[in-house]
Symmetry: C2
Amino acid sequence: MHAPSSPLDPRFSLGVDIGGTKTAMGLVSPQGALLEHLSFETHSRRGIQDMALRLNRGLETLLQRASLEKKQVDGMGVGCPGPLNLETGEVLNPYTLPGWEQGSLTQAIEATTGLRVRLENDADAALLGECWMGAGQGKNPVLMLTFGTGVGGALFTDGRVYRGARGEHPEMGLIPVHTGMPKDYSGVDGSLESLASGSGMAQRGEPLGWSHARAVFEAAQDGHPEASRIVDEALEAVGRSAWVYAHTFCPECIILGGGLMDHHFPAFQQRMQQALDQASLIARNLIEVVPARLGNQAGMLGAASLMLKSTLS
Amino acid sequence: MHAPSSPLDPRFSLGVDIGGTKTAMGLVSPQGALLEHLSFETHSRRGIQDMALRLNRGLETLLQRASLEKKQVDGMGVGCPGPLNLETGEVLNPYTLPGWEQGSLTQAIEATTGLRVRLENDADAALLGECWMGAGQGKNPVLMLTFGTGVGGALFTDGRVYRGARGEHPEMGLIPVHTGMPKDYSGVDGSLESLASGSGMAQRGEPLGWSHARAVFEAAQDGHPEASRIVDEALEAVGRSAWVYAHTFCPECIILGGGLMDHHFPAFQQRMQQALDQASLIARNLIEVVPARLGNQAGMLGAASLMLKSTLS
């Protein structure tokens, strides 16, 4: 027999971070502590229903480990690569998550777990996590840029994620930063993404024998002039992007995350800060460029915060 | 003897639009009708107190014309060229409004008129006006760009003006759109403002004998190749700026205002729409480029809306 739950009991929340390869889920306290977490292969081709069942099993495991009961959990926030339909809970990304094009992921999870579920773009979930418990705490507005295979971005303003028309997610990696440069897949010549993403740098290095961004950086360090040029142009693009973001969003803080930042944050930060120091009026001495602090826990924490906030409000 | 006012009486609001040369003020209904308005020379060198007295006289004139009493007025919103301190009500623009550097404009007006007063950046006030009663009605987010002597911009999102760190106003005209181009006063090479503002085009045309943007446009229409080049580069910059704004703000609507739009809106709109049609994912078919509709009444209406909204909330 269990004691009846009181409205004053602490309420917990599940945060789920779905990626093309792996899915991580964690049990989060209202204070932002990640009590327990686990991860498993995503296997999206098995379908939405199968994912819902595995999330339910994961939920039971986490509750058991934390000695909590399901009624102490307020709901599950789910971060997922977009495009998403946040209203219907549909995942519309056949490249990263094939097999999920039909039906609502949130409805399937709600039906299986009995919990309230909220879906969020994965970049936005990571931003919310960093703003809640990481590098963006107490800052407003906060811009987070993610340099990985592509370049993504998200903006936090007055306690929430900025959304564009019809709830669309901005595509901050696609801003043009150079002319006369190679076009990226969207047809922009010299977009930030085409010059400073992992895939963009690899594409530019490949004819010269460097098939990964890391190889380009290493060759540049060894003094190879062509590799140095690719790195310089990436950093130049990063500096120019800082100028764009300073004058459009004027954030208090720019958080840099993503795989490229594991090794190259200092170079990226230095070039951004240099550009910002030259900027007029608002940007100078106002905008801080900092590394993401929560690594792969940001998505779980941010997803969990979606439920805690809706509980508190 | 007057009948006692009931809480159901309609409440009116004053909207003031202060410029370097002229100041306009109007009496606005809760439905956004501009009942009466008047304007006078700003003469900022006479000081803040003198402006407060003239606004009070203007208020009395407007009330008389509309057969209203002061107690039917909820307050006065004031749009003014920045930089401003919105908290203290100080105006910190010695170029446009010399003589107002000392003291709080809002406090002076409150003390003289007995009304509550709220200050707002003039570009933001015009944006609020267009979103309330003009070209941005029912749209979200809305970006307004003003092409005049400079290029200004403001963003409306979820019912309010977007603000940057410490309440700073973004400087959207200063985004870089070209490399290898002349630097503007802030040191950006090829900013939107240096290429597509009235003063930027005049500066580029001056060595060739055209000292105003209008002269450059006219020479281009007459087929002068150098003038055509300046106009083409201005339009190219405008197109590239649309790409930047699409991927950062993803607005539902871009409103173009300012003096240059009196004659050149079709050319600017066409180039922006062309760029947006090429944009990936979110921008295509989503973002409308429209002319400002309220002209010089936008600032008064937007300033008035600041008070009506705070009444309603």
